[in-house]
């Protein structure tokens, strides 16, 4: 993937090779500008790769997009301000048709309940807090039972308390949906808590430097964040991000970031 700006063309992604088994939860973590979001946008067929291929269960991203198999949650809620909560959640149904086979078995009202917004069905986006708006965006991504759920730092703007609750909610919703999930995040602890595998990326050019498998069993519980396995994974991701020497200094001087 190459970006052409005013100066020299910038290679955004290079030598990215990843394979996520169906039904698993994978995370991509890396510094700002390493191409995490670009990678996700390639998978979603928002942009096209300069070289290389992406396959989603045997299909191209374009075929998957046209088959409405993708659920995408952006960094910002990206709600339509003139639509109520319920109408925003049902936007994909308006596009695909109310009788689509892709339609979730859950009704609009059930999805609203699932993301904890009962009583807000008729509220307009500007009447909700940022966290509530993001939950509407998540419900919207689930209204069509996606095969692949793409999450671009969906909780980046939330406070830690809301974020932890949303992580648990998302894992519950994901395990019920059976979708394959790909999460882009800045938080090491969030990546470890949510994922089966973590792809660690470095910047300029963006490439995958290491892969960390998370052995924690499912369903995940908050007390697992105190387990040695959890800390071990956090440290391995840290090593992947900062290099072993630097991260030893870092872990010695400050406690491991775990919410």
């Amino acid at each position: 993937m190459v970006f052409y700006g005013s100066g020299e063309p910038v290679i955004a992604l290079e030598k990215v090779d990843m394979r996520v088994p169906a039904g698993q939860f994978a995370s991509i973590i890396g510094p700002s500008g390493c191409g995490k979001s670009t990678l996700l946008r390639l998978v979603a067929d928002v942009t096209e790769p300069h070289a290389g291929t992406i396959t989603l269960g045997g299909d191209t991203p374009r075929a998957a997009r046209h088959a409405h198999s993708l659920g995408f949650v952006f960094q910002a809620p990206t709600l339509l301000p003139w639509r109520s909560v319920k109408q925003n959640i049902e936007l994909p149904l308006d596009v695909v048709g109310r009788n689509s086979a892709k339609r979730s078995t859950r009704s609009g009202a059930e999805l609203i309940e699932l993301v904890g917004l009962t009583g807000f069905a008729d509220a307009l986006p500007h009447q909700l807090s940022g966290g509530m708006q993001q939950r509407v965006a998540i419900a919207r991504a689930l209204v069509l039972t996606p095969d692949i759920l793409l999450l671009d730092e969906p909780f980046g703007a939330l406070d830690e308390i809301t974020r932890q609750r949303m992580n648990l909610e998302l894992l519950r919703i994901w395990s019920e949906s059976g979708a394959t999930a790909l999460l882009v995040t800045h938080s090491i602890a969030e990546a470890v808590f949510m994922s089966d595998q973590i792809y660690v990326m470095s910047a300029r050019p963006g490439r995958i430097t290491s892969i960390v498998d998370v052995p924690l069993e499912r369903p995940r519980r908050l007390d697992m964040m105190r387990s040695p396995e959890f800390f071990d994974c956090v440290n391995r991701v840290r090593d992947g991000l900062f290099g072993h020497q630097q991260s030893q200094v870092a872990t010695a001087s400050e406690p491991v970031e775990a919410y």
Partner: protein, 259 residues
């Protein structure tokens, strides 16, 4: 929170109404104490003109109003259609925009007599000039509005694999409405002023004709009456669209800042 619509209207309008009343009273007092030049009549003299010859007001106000409305409707139809074409066909964007800017820069006071020579002094000249005078804000408003949806919202529709017409219906038209209404509001007084100016170039009836006759016969109260009528008509056009905008663009909200 306003409890009833009538109370809300009262709350919004009592200040400007009171200010207007005060100014009129001040003007009246100043005239009574001979503080104003001879060519500025007292407000009571202007009102007396209406009282004396109510036929004069209606006979001139009605033709001007309908000519302005006809020209305005033509301009709205053409401007909105042209702007839609400009936004969907990039090659025509520049030419359409430039033509509109040029028409808007032409001095009406000079073109009105020329157009009268060409089209005759009938109502068609006044309607044409009302259209030419009011087209620009509606064209710019529609152009800006149709491009107002942000890139995230466009990506959302793309990931949902929405068709062009669905994107137009669910995203582009609603996000254009605030800009379109801004254009419609600004254009309404321009249509009235355009009509009045065109009536100067030769019309039997209309506020502009009344203004011209009064000017030539040094009938200052009648000149001021025609000025007031022009203001009222222009303000009514603006208020009409402002009222519709309040209902149609219901998701716009004001931020209440503490004093």
């Amino acid at each position: 929170m306003a409890s009833t619509p009538s109370l809300a209207i009262f709350r919004a309008s009592w200040r400007p109404l009171a200010t207007g009343m005060m100014l009129i009273a001040l003007l009246e007092a100043a005239k009574r104490f001979h503080l104003l030049p001879i060519f500025v009549p007292a407000p009571s003299e202007v009102v007396w003109e209406i009282w004396k010859t109510p036929r004069l007001v209606t006979a001139n106000l009605v033709p001007t109003a309908w000519k302005a409305a006809a020209g305005y409707s033509i301009a709205a139809t053409v401007a909105i259609a042209a702007a839609s074409i400009a936004v969907s066909l990039r090659a025509l964007y520049g030419p359409i925009y430039n033509i509109s800017v040029t028409i808007n820069s032409v001095p009406i006071i000079a073109t009105a007599p020329l157009l009268a020579l060409w089209l005759g002094t009938g109502t068609q000249v006044q309607i044409a000039i009302a259209a030419l005078a009011s087209q620009f804000p509606m064209l710019v408003g529609t152009m800006q509005g149709l491009q107002a949806a942000d890139s995230r919202q466009r990506e959302l529709m793309h990931v949902l694999s929405a068709s062009r017409s669905q994107t137009l219906r669910y995203l582009l038209i609603p996000s254009a409405l605030p800009y379109l209404f801004a254009g419609l509001k600004i254009a309404a007084p321009s249509a009235v002023l355009g009509t009045v100016t065109a009536e100067w170039a030769g019309a039997d009836q209309g506020v502009g004709a009344m203004m011209l006759y009064a000017l030539f016969s040094y009938d200052t109260p009648k000149v001021w009456l025609s000025v007031v009528l022009t203001c009222l008509l222009a303000g009514a056009g603006f208020g009409f669209w402002a009222a519709i905008e309040g209902v149609a663009v219901y998701w716009r909200h004001d931020v209440d800042l503490a004093d």
